[in-house]
């Protein structure tokens, strides 16, 4: 197990390196000069040249990359080229907001998906199955920015049930924090809920057809016990895979939602940094996103072992 873990952790390094090279090239090869963004209404040829020199943009691309990499290896993520804020601070300041939003969205998606998916599977072909399927199609089809706008208009602007935008840290006031996070979390989690429901349903249908389910029923176990104890745990293995990917995708998944709700998270920082060609911040966020995906995948593999003892990493 330890060897397996170490091997997986070491494998992350080359993957992260490849990701950063790819992103570095893509960003730098795309048109747009950060100096013009930084200088705004105060640009002059001398000022542009000065900014290029300060940011090291006058050096060859590979030199710029290795300077950045060298700094990262030494624990220096650099400073934002537009705000001079340390990149590590910029990201860690916004990470709690993104994690709170991502986790509440994920919980929302699971609270909706698992019961609905289970009901749809158990009552396959019934009206409740069709309603659940309809909800799924709607959830996947409607873009989350549209769900966000509808939620803002109805629950915030018209009914005044929830505040518009703004963020209160969980540690400052948990209740207010939850009030602020609910709308963006519902907007963000709905598509995930639909996908998770489909996976729960199909996996559950498959499991319910297995011999051991019939055996359990024959031995006199109640239908409820068979569904929730014998079937559901096994049916959740593919769902865990998907949820794992969703956890890894919290950072980039929140990009649109955070923008619509002016949520001060990493997603909004990413959008702003891309528009401003803030290379150092983009690189930092991409690195973080890559690691979060890899770690989420690793955790999923470990959870498999818990859900199904037949899977072993010895």
């Amino acid at each position: 197990m330890t060897t397996y873990l170490l091997r997986r952790l070491l494998l992350m390094l080359p993957v992260a390196l490849l990701v950063t090279i790819g992103v570095f090239m893509l960003i730098h090869l795309s048109p747009g000069d950060p100096a013009l963004i930084i200088l705004g209404e105060d640009r002059s040829p001398a000022a542009i040249a000065q900014v290029h020199e300060q940011l090291g943009l006058d050096k060859p691309l590979y030199v710029q990359y290795f300077i950045w990499l060298d700094n990262i290896v030494h624990g220096d993520w650099g400073r934002s080229v537009t705000t001079h804020e340390p990149v590590a601070v910029a990201i860690t300041d916004r990470l709690p907001a993104t994690l709170e939003l991502g986790i509440v969205a994920l919980l929302w998606s699971l609270i909706v998906a698992i019961p609905l998916g289970t009901i749809a599977a158990v009552r396959r072909g019934s009206l409740s199955d069709q309603i659940a399927t309809g909800i799924t199609i709607a959830g996947v089809s409607i873009p989350n920015f549209f769900i966000g706008i509808v939620l803002i208009f109805t629950l915030s602007v018209t009914l005044r049930l929830f505040p518009f935008g703004g963020y209160v840290p969980l540690t400052t006031d948990p209740l207010q924090s939850l009030r602020h996070v609910m709308l963006p979390a519902i907007a963000l989690g709905t598509a995930g809920a639909a996908i998770n429901m489909r996976f729960t349903r199909s996996s559950m249908i498959e499991v319910l057809n297995h011999d051991y389910i019939r055996t359990a029923r024959a031995k006199g176990a109640s239908w409820r016990r068979v569904v929730f104890v014998h079937a559901l745990k096994n049916a959740l293995i593919p769902v865990v895979t998907i949820v794992g990917l969703q956890i890894g995708g919290i950072i980039e998944g929140a990009v649109v939602t955070e923008t619509v709700f002016t949520w001060p998270g990493v997603g909004r920082l990413a959008v702003e940094s891309i528009f401003n060609r803030d290379y150092t911040v983009i690189q930092g966020i991409v690195l973080l996103a890559a690691f979060s995906y890899m770690i989420a995948n690793l955790l999923v593999d470990l959870v498999y072992g818990w859900l199904d003892p037949r899977i072993s990493y010895a």
């Binding site: 048109p31 747009g32 013009l36 963004i37 705004g40 300041d93």
Partner: protein, 504 residues
């Protein structure tokens, strides 16, 4: 080139862009002390240091933290600020008498040495964006604590107006040193203005608190201000409606009528100082042919743009100097209503590409221009680009037509010199006319305002005639707030000054 981000966000989408308006009685009553106001900013700030600032939203905040050497009144007349009186009879040596007894929020004194330290910092700082503002200042001589002399390398009639804005904002040198590399993110105690910095959580909020020792006695009335960056005009309106913000400067032009009609809101506006329109590249085909530039300028129906895109907020523009300026000249109305027939007789049957951003209002404008030009036999193709790409291509002259607006400057020089002087910083159009250069240089160096107005009038007429830029509309500076906000004074320069505002 926040020129478009700022220009458009501020002048065009803006609730602003139109004359007159509402909210009677909200200045009435005895000022009440206390309370906080939340202000919506249309984009996030990048810095709180005037030295490296380049965004209009940053200036909106600065005016409440820092004092400038000079101020303006709502008619754009230069007034005393940290400079109490001035003698500019010698065009190369401006003598300033400073206010005495003023302290920065960190307790250090404002004096002549502080003025020199600030100007030196702006002129030499590695990341300073103020160098071109102060290029004509060769040095500051400190006579004593309350007297300084600005030595100029060449006469500059625009200097006092320049010192109203960031180049004239005075900061505590101690606070700057103490802040070190993070000063621009947390300028604690650095200003002498009505409010002082408390906290900045980027993408969420910026908090200021009352400066208890503000030198204008009895001010400010509010205990504090919170700024929230909401980079979407529809979201700003939602936040106003839910009460999450008290004041905004920008909402969509389409929403202004309904806000004016809503008794829960106050809407007021005054003519602003910028201009809207698009550049034509005189350095490359097809617009290296002056006849084709003129044809485009003639074929555009400015009234249609004002009505259909700006919802009649603002006025049509004929040149670079808006009606709010002392240099405004109504005779610049060379190309008035659309005249397709006249345009056809000038030049027709050519095609060009118009670059713009994906902003919905910019897109609507492009489509309207396209249909108007088609009537004159000119084919306009619309090329939509992501902001950073578009900025770079326009700045590096890789365009035929480019939609760029300008937020404007107090002095008309700021609306013309960099744009149309040969080799000017914003002369994306590569326009060059020796006579225009001469007028602009004369106006910059001449202290006589009547003579300057004449120079600007001549230059404007020639620029409009040559059409390196097609002017469409002038915007407005607006206040959109709830009815709890009182005593708000609108300034044409788009800045929100909060010292005298109270909430009740």
């Amino acid at each position: 080139m926040r020129r478009v981000a700022v220009g458009f966000a501020c002048l065009f989408l803006v609730s602003a862009c139109g004359g007159g308006g509402g909210g009677g009685g909200q200045n009435a009553g005895t000022p009440q002390k206390g309370g906080t106001a939340t202000i919506a900013l249309e984009s996030e700030l990048r810095t709180l240091d005037p030295m490296d600032s380049s965004l209009l939203v940053e200036r909106e905040v600065f005016y409440n933290i820092y004092d400038s050497l000079f101020t303006i009144d709502p008619s754009l007349t230069i007034k005393p600020g940290l400079v109490k009186s001035w003698d500019i009879s010698d065009p190369l040596n401006y003598k300033f008498t400073l206010q005495s007894g003023i302290k920065y929020q960190d307790g250090t004194a404002f004096n002549g040495a502080s003025v020199k330290a600030n100007i030196d910092r702006y002129k030499t700082g590695a990341t300073s964006r103020r160098k071109s503002d102060l290029a004509s200042v060769s040095g500051v001589e400190v006579t004593d604590d309350t007297h300084v002399v600005f030595h100029l390398s060449k006469p500059n009639a625009t200097l006092l107006a320049t010192l109203v804005d960031r180049a004239g904002m005075m900061l505590s040198t101690d606070a700057v040193l103490k802040g070190g590399q993070n000063f621009s993110l947390a300028p604690a105690g650095a200003g002498s203005g009505p409010f002082e910095f408390v906290e900045w959580k980027r993408n969420d909020h910026l908090t200021l608190k009352k400066n208890a020792t503000y030198w204008h006695s009895g001010l400010p009335y509010l205990d504090g201000i919170t700024y929230r960056a909401i980079p979407d005009v529809n979201a700003i309106l939602s936040a106003l409606k839910t009460g999450d913000v008290d004041i905004a400067r920008v909402i969509g032009a389409k929403d202004v009528a309904s806000v004016k009609a809503d008794s829960n809101f106050v809407y007021k506006d005054v003519p602003a100082i910028g201009f809207n329109g698009f550049e034509l590249n005189a350095g490359a085909p097809p617009f290296n042919d002056p006849a084709k530039r003129k044809a485009v300028a003639m074929a555009i129906d400015r009234y249609s743009i004002l009505k259909n895109i700006n919802f009649n907020i603002g006025v049509v523009a004929y040149g670079p100097v808006p009606p709010s300026s002392w240099a405004f000249d109504s005779s610049e109305k060379i190309y008035d209503h659309a005249d397709a027939a006249k345009a056809k007789s000038t030049a027709t049957g050519f095609t060009f590409t118009y670059k713009t951003t994906s902003d919905p209002v910019n897109q609507q404008l492009a489509q309207l221009l396209q249909s108007e030009l088609a009537q004159a036999g000119i084919t306009m193709q619309i090329q939509t680009e992501e902001f950073a790409t578009y900025v770079q291509e326009c700045a590096s002259h890789k365009f035929q037509a480019c939609n760029v607006n300008w937020s404007g400057r107090i002095d008309p020089d700021g609306n013309m010199y960099a744009w149309w002087h040969t080799g000017g910083d914003f002369n994306d159009s590569l326009y060059s006319n020796a006579q225009v250069d001469q007028w602009l240089e004369d106006a910059r160096t001449n202290a006589d305002q009547a003579k300057r107005k004449q120079d600007y009038g001549n230059a404007q007429k020639q620029i409009v005639e040559d059409a390196p830029y097609v002017f469409t509309t002038f915007g407005v500076s607006a206040q959109i707030s709830n009815t709890k906000i009182h005593n708000f004074t609108l300034y044409p320069d788009l800045m929100i000054r909060m010292a005298e505002v109270w909430k009740g």
